[in-house]
């Protein structure tokens, strides 16, 4: 064993090292994207990290494109480990060529210079093939940084059988939603109109989004934080009312207990995204034929406003040696009709590509939804999403703050309005802690 003196000496050296220089530590991507010249007939290998089960699609690409081989590697979903892995690989300078990233996480990757500027590689000419607002989610500083894959336009999944049994009309406005909630509480024998998941900030964000609130904007080089704007608090107040009068239940969503509730009719409707169809179909098989889809309730009669929940894109990470080939694959993956049909079957969401609903697998009638052409509702919804909604580059933390504060509110300690006022301050702190300029609206 070393004696005490040498241990002290090591300690002193370790403490002094950072003072000398922070060498070897890179804050952003350690390697920048550069195109490698390819000889004729030379095979290129691309690595693709995703948590979406794209095996069949990638196999189809590899069969049809012998020159560019894609190596699909399944990583843990999003913040469960996938993003951590991507950040670590960027920092280490050994990233995969392609990666699955959600729209609301793109700014965090921009902050570490983690995405390849695709406009430099000629991606701008592809613009017309994609849904406009999804394309815009991938544009930063006027440059495209990812290829849109899918979104989650919102609508109202409801149990037609239950609404009819209790003689309740499907609400078209939020006013009607509250009235329907009161009726269901009276007549439903313990059931409620819907369940409020305090653990899901991303779900909740779609409601202020629909109302026209903007949690985050930019002005010059400053981030403007506005979680407690008048419109945002109006929405929170509406949900507070439902919670206080116990017109809705509180239940974390998309977990086993929630799926059981969906099946037993513990809640009669779910305000969910298009990709939720596969979840209901798979987890509430006994309710086949009972579900229908209606548009989101509106704040004013006759309006058509909608919002989005989730959605992701295919990014080419900073440090790729084959950005052109990667772009070719990403574009094929998200626009080729055969690829899209395979993706639809895998339940990945609403396509980022402009599609002809009639000709796509999405246009089919579905017996689970009583043979309704339910995706027509989502097609309409996708067209009505306000496209100026932005996410903070500290969004994962913002969601955590919302979850923490909503958890307290849903347990009867405070209100959602209090919660958003609290979140406002915390988001400002987060941005400042990251060394970014930020202020309240």
């Amino acid at each position: 064993m070393p004696d005490r003196r040498s241990v002290l000496a090591w300690g002193a050296a370790a403490a002094a090292a950072p003072a000398l220089t922070a060498c070897g530590e890179s804050a952003g991507a350690a390697r920048l994207t550069r195109q490698t010249k390819r000889k004729r007939g030379q095979k290129v290998n691309l690595v693709f990290w995703t948590w979406v089960p794209l095996q069949k699609t990638v196999a189809l690409w590899n069969r049809t494109h012998p020159d560019i081989h894609v190596d699909l590697q399944i990583v843990p979903g999003a913040t469960n480990g996938g993003y951590q892995k991507m950040h670590a690989s960027l920092k280490a300078g050994s990233p995969p060529d392609l990666a699955q990233i959600e729209y609301h996480t793109l700014p965090e990757f921009m902050l570490v210079n983690g995405l390849t500027n695709l406009s430099e590689h000629g991606a701008d000419k592809l613009k017309d093939e994609y849904v406009d607002w999804q394309w815009k989610q991938c544009v930063f500083g006027g440059r495209l940084h990812a290829i849109p894959q899918a979104s989650g336009p919102m609508a109202n999944f409801y149990r037609k059988d239950l609404f009819e049994r209790w003689d309740v009309e499907v609400p078209r406005t939020w006013d009607e939603f509250r009235k329907a909630a009161i009726k269901i509480k009276k007549r439903g024998g313990g059931s409620r109109i819907t369940a409020f998941p305090p653990t899901n900030a991303m779900w909740y964000a779609s409601f202020p989004w629909q109302r026209g609130a903007r949690w985050i904007r930019t002005e010059g080089d400053t981030w403007i934080v506005d979680f407690n704007s008048k419109l945002s608090l109006e929405v929170a107040d509406f949900w507070d009312g439902l919670l206080q009068d116990e017109l809705i239940t509180v239940q974390p969503d998309l977990q086993s207990g929630w799926y059981r509730s969906a099946q037993t009719g513990h809640f009669a409707s779910w305000l969910g995204a298009q990709w939720g169809d596969a979840l209901l179909r798979g987890n509430a098989p006994d309710t086949k034929g009972d579900w229908r889809v209606a548009p989101l309730p509106q704040w004013e009669e006759g309006q058509n406003a909608s919002a989005n929940w989730g959605g992701s894109c295919t990014a080419i990470l900073q440090g790729s040696r084959h950005p052109e080939e990667a772009l070719e694959f990403a574009h094929w993956l998200n626009t080729d009709s055969k690829s899209i049909d395979l993706l639809v079957a895998a339940g990945y969401g609403w396509p980022g590509a402009r599609i002809d609903l009639e000709k796509s697998a999405l246009g089919k009638r579905d017996p689970f939804f009583g043979n309704q052409r339910y995706n027509e509702v989502f097609e309409e919804s996708d067209g009505q999403i306000d496209t100026s909604w932005k996410w903070a580059p500290t969004n994962t933390q913002s969601f955590d703050h919302i979850k923490d504060a909503f958890g307290r509110a849903a347990a009867g300690r405070g209100t959602l309005v209090d919660a958003l006022n609290d979140v406002q301050g915390r988001v400002l702190d987060d941005l400042a802690a990251k060394g970014l300029k930020a202020r309240s609206a």
Partner: protein, 319 residues
């Protein structure tokens, strides 16, 4: 080293068996000693000293941002103790220490009393059953914490849980604000009581039979033997399990992380470890996370050594 002299100070059975008296030790270890220590030191340095040193180093760095909206090329700079003061200013982080302390004050004694009781009972039953019972008490330890938490999660979630189903309206809200900490304590007791029991059982086995015989001759019944002979003699095992449990409590992580999707009462700063994890991986601020990890290590160290010095001081004063 201090521990080496105290352990050779006691007469071990091996030394009593007529082994040659140890040579007078020179002040420096010889080459052979270094050879045998080598593999340990190499691994210790690689898996312990190096990462700890790196964590301390990282805790003194920060990211500096430039350019419009901070989206330009970021750089890393020296932060001194900034991360530490930032961490200690976060009341949620500081509160999480209070939470795990409360958890430890309740959970560790409950678990150790249970482990001790099981060990003493096992010592009483016939050997034929002891093996089977010992294995079954120990079994929960063989289940990874994450899996155990998922299993218990099913028993806690209303709507699925047979427990809440059977209790109906009288069922407590296992995952609610006031109860979730104790629901986690229950999982931890279930996981580790058998493990701690095994350590105590091993110590019980090493008690020489003569002591029992003497006690019996003096007229001691099973109660008195347990209270006056067994419990005082398994004290070292109790101290050891207690130190392990204190460290384990401070590092509480997997259980709240897994239950978080089921319970809104578990915040992102529920325990110090969860807080550091979220900073590193949700918020991509490894430097702040490193500072929090160092603070946690210092607190855990202080608590374990504090506890150790408390019990050894008592021991010394008793002699």
């Amino acid at each position: 080293m201090a521990t080496a002299t105290t352990s050779t100070g006691r007469a071990t059975p091996a030394a009593a068996d007529g082994a040659p008296a140890p040579r007078r030790r020179s002040s420096r270890p010889d080459k052979a000693a270094w050879f045998f220590l080598g593999p340990f030191l190499a691994l210790f340095g690689f898996a312990f000293v190096l990462p700890i040193g790196y964590a301390v180093y990282q805790s003194m760095l920060k990211v500096e941002r430039h350019g419009p909206l901070g989206l330009g090329e970021p750089t890393v700079g020296f932060a001194g103790l900034e991360n530490y003061s930032l961490a200690l200013q976060q009341t949620d982080f500081v509160d999480s220490f209070g939470r795990v302390l409360l958890f430890g004050i309740v959970q560790v004694p409950v678990m150790l009393v249970l482990a001790l009781t099981l060990a003493l009972l096992l010592d009483q039953v016939s050997d034929r059953w002891a093996g089977l019972l010992r294995a079954s008490y120990f079994l929960p330890y063989g289940i990874p914490g994450v899996i155990a938490t998922i299993l218990w999660g099913f028993l806690y979630v209303p709507g699925i849980s047979p427990i809440t189903g059977a209790l109906g309206g009288a069922a407590p809200e296992f995952l609610g604000y006031d109860n979730v900490l104790w629901s986690i304590a229950n999982i931890v007791v279930w996981e580790f009581a058998g493990y701690n029991m095994l350590i105590i059982v091993a110590q019980l086995k090493s008690i020489p039979q003569e002591l029992y015989e003497a006690a019996r001759i003096d007229g001691a019944g099973p109660w008195q033997t347990a209270l006056r002979i067994k419990i005082p003699l398994v004290r070292p095992a109790l101290v050891l399990t207690c130190v392990f449990s204190i460290i384990g409590t401070m590092q509480l992580f997997a259980e709240p992380l897994v239950l978080r999707v089921l319970s809104p009462a578990i915040t992102s700063n529920f325990t110090p470890n969860l807080s550091a994890y979220n900073d590193a991986f949700a918020n991509a601020n490894v430097y702040l996370a490193a500072a929090k990890a160092v603070i946690l290590a210092v607190v855990a160290c202080a608590l374990s050594f504090g506890f150790l010095s408390l019990v050894t001081r008592k021991e010394r004063s008793r002699r």
